[in-house]
Symmetry: C2
Subunit: 451 residues, 2 copies
Amino acid sequence: MAKIAALSGFPEWLPAERLVEQHVIDVFREVAELHGFSGIETRAVEPLEQLLRKGEIDKEVYVLRRLHAEEDGDDAREDRSRTLGLHFDLTVPLARYVLEHQNDLAFPLRRFQIQKVWRGERPQDGRFREFYQADLDVIGQDTLPGHIEAEVAVVMAEILDRLPVPAFTIHANTRRLSEGFFRALGLEDQAAVLRSLDKLPKIGEEAVRELLLTEAGATEEQARACLAFAAIRTRDASFAEQVRALGGTGEMVEQGIAELTAVLERVEAAVPGVIMADLSIARGLDYYTGTVFETFVTGHESLGSICSGGRYDALASDNRHTYPGVGLSIGLSRLVSRLLSAGLATASRAVPTCVLVSVGDESLRELSDAAARSLRRRGIACEVAPTAAKFGKQIRYADRRGIPFIWFPGTDGAADEVKDIRTGEQVAADAGSWEPPAEDRAVRVLGAAQE
Amino acid sequence: MAKIAALSGFPEWLPAERLVEQHVIDVFREVAELHGFSGIETRAVEPLEQLLRKGEIDKEVYVLRRLHAEEDGDDAREDRSRTLGLHFDLTVPLARYVLEHQNDLAFPLRRFQIQKVWRGERPQDGRFREFYQADLDVIGQDTLPGHIEAEVAVVMAEILDRLPVPAFTIHANTRRLSEGFFRALGLEDQAAVLRSLDKLPKIGEEAVRELLLTEAGATEEQARACLAFAAIRTRDASFAEQVRALGGTGEMVEQGIAELTAVLERVEAAVPGVIMADLSIARGLDYYTGTVFETFVTGHESLGSICSGGRYDALASDNRHTYPGVGLSIGLSRLVSRLLSAGLATASRAVPTCVLVSVGDESLRELSDAAARSLRRRGIACEVAPTAAKFGKQIRYADRRGIPFIWFPGTDGAADEVKDIRTGEQVAADAGSWEPPAEDRAVRVLGAAQE
């Protein structure tokens, strides 16, 4: 057997850890479906030329080649149109899926997608080369109402709220507000202002002020106003008064205020206390055309934004239609990895099994099988002991896996008995009617506070 | 936008079709967990040299290369040990996972795994290049009791029984029985006999008889006995008498009979009417070391075996331990593809949404949002109409997606009303207490017979 070693950048979980990841996926799906989103999956590969349309991630793409083709000396570089690469996000595939299936889809399309993506990034940066992404998008055909921006944020807020994530805040801004404000100040190169403000977390206020003066053509006063604008963070609609007090006037600013206020109010109504207007959010505002979101976890700011996205006016287009959308995306593996490494979430037991049915003697295995069938018929997960070992050994088998109950089938007319391994309490029980406590029925994933 | 075209061999489903696939995955997981199996996922890639240890599928492997490396002229062939390929099944990764994590796993390990695998096969054979496989294995450390063979078959029978698959039969045989019988007849080259019998479905009885005479060194009488043996198919333990009547005697034959009988009895007890002794099942008997299974669907024999596997004595081994196992695997995408194309399974509606909450006027959207929140709080999936279009248009929106109910929030103190789009019946209702009929709450996947 060749040497077995973990591959850096390709995370893999033990069974108990996978239960946490599965829980996060389940919650995402459950909430998305509750809001009428359809789950889809796209193939893992796209033609390389499709993947390279976003030039900047060139070097991160994994290209596929059939081993056979390689041995034949066939060179994929000769025919790039037929070369396949692994998708590096779920947006490029969604755009292709929407165009390919547009005649069979109903728009607006509400879709969620939870799949692995691959990037050839350096794993030493703490980044993964293979990871789950979980996306939520509403895609319109030619038009998409503005209020969808708030709606997608509500669904994501509900998802995050149900996860064992510590206090999180969804920071929202909208392009119209920033752009309108910079215009109202008399700044002409609004993109340069955005690019400068985008560097705030990295280089700090003083250096950004320099950039605004030298690169964005701002006066001292304009620079001061921009920095004051970017410092605005409010939980409610009061950001509007602060913007106006800084000189933000005009139709575009008021439109931006109305948009952002609607987002705050709708998210607040659904999940109180998680949304915040944060006018420093600039990243992506050149790609996104409406509201933009980033999400931070208190005490885990080093993770960066765990959930980002916003409105874009053209996910895809062809001769007949343009497809605008609103989307949010969670870097699910990165989040799960932190939940696990920081002890923020653990499974209540390592296996799905609620009851280990013991076997007193191999000749009596059918008795144990029958008891297990009875329990399973009522949805109680159980397994039958693999060997008729001494009961102490069978109890250790259960204990090692965190299985809370062990079942002893009665022989010679005696009643069955069930023992709670944690308390040692053992009582007579009938496999056709016994119920474990509700909290023991299924594996639960516990947050740090509940442990 | 570049031309968008489907990629042959890479199936992709529309939302309503994906609901069927998701249902199959959900059932597999639910039943596996009910039997105490832990779900794991392994990374999609393995070192190429690990993948090539099974020489015969050489040409089917997709090799990965970072686009960056390619442009640098870095040639993966120069360092095969670092080259990665996409896994082509879930068994090679399981072997590696077990060895890598052996100190952190509890044995016997009961694991299920549902993941996509990739094979560079010719798609024109009706085969997929990317597809879901769903595996169920019990892995022991150094030892694994024989009765696990029956147990894994029971779990798989329950899974298949809950799926909208038409009448299926699990065909079982065991290596000891075949080998013991051929020995009892005095045949020395048992592997050659197995290879000959393996060709029965393809070349027929007469051609196999020729092979037995010429390749396996059988006499006319031995060949006749072998063919009679391979023709034995019984739903119960009566296969044993037929084997004995053909001259099957000795310890090995009796051991094989006992094994196979135990499998039949346990599966019959759990899921009546699906298991069958079929002594023609020879394929894989040189890899498998105990019971072997193949599963066929009545009327869909062209699919081949939809679920195969058995006992193998060494999934993996290192200096300290050997890991024997029993495993069964479903080619899930292939099965789902047939369920869909043959109309054997359909989703009761195309989207998860149970209720479309209408919007009378954009200024009243918050009323609709509030009603939707009330319904969702009780787990009723709903979405709010994207625009305050005329009610006729909103009803068509719901109808097109198969959403069964449309909700009309009351204004000016009037009660809310809900309309069943199928019957046209409209009644006053309260969003805090209204319940849809149980069969409309969640999407159901219906088999052909239930439609």
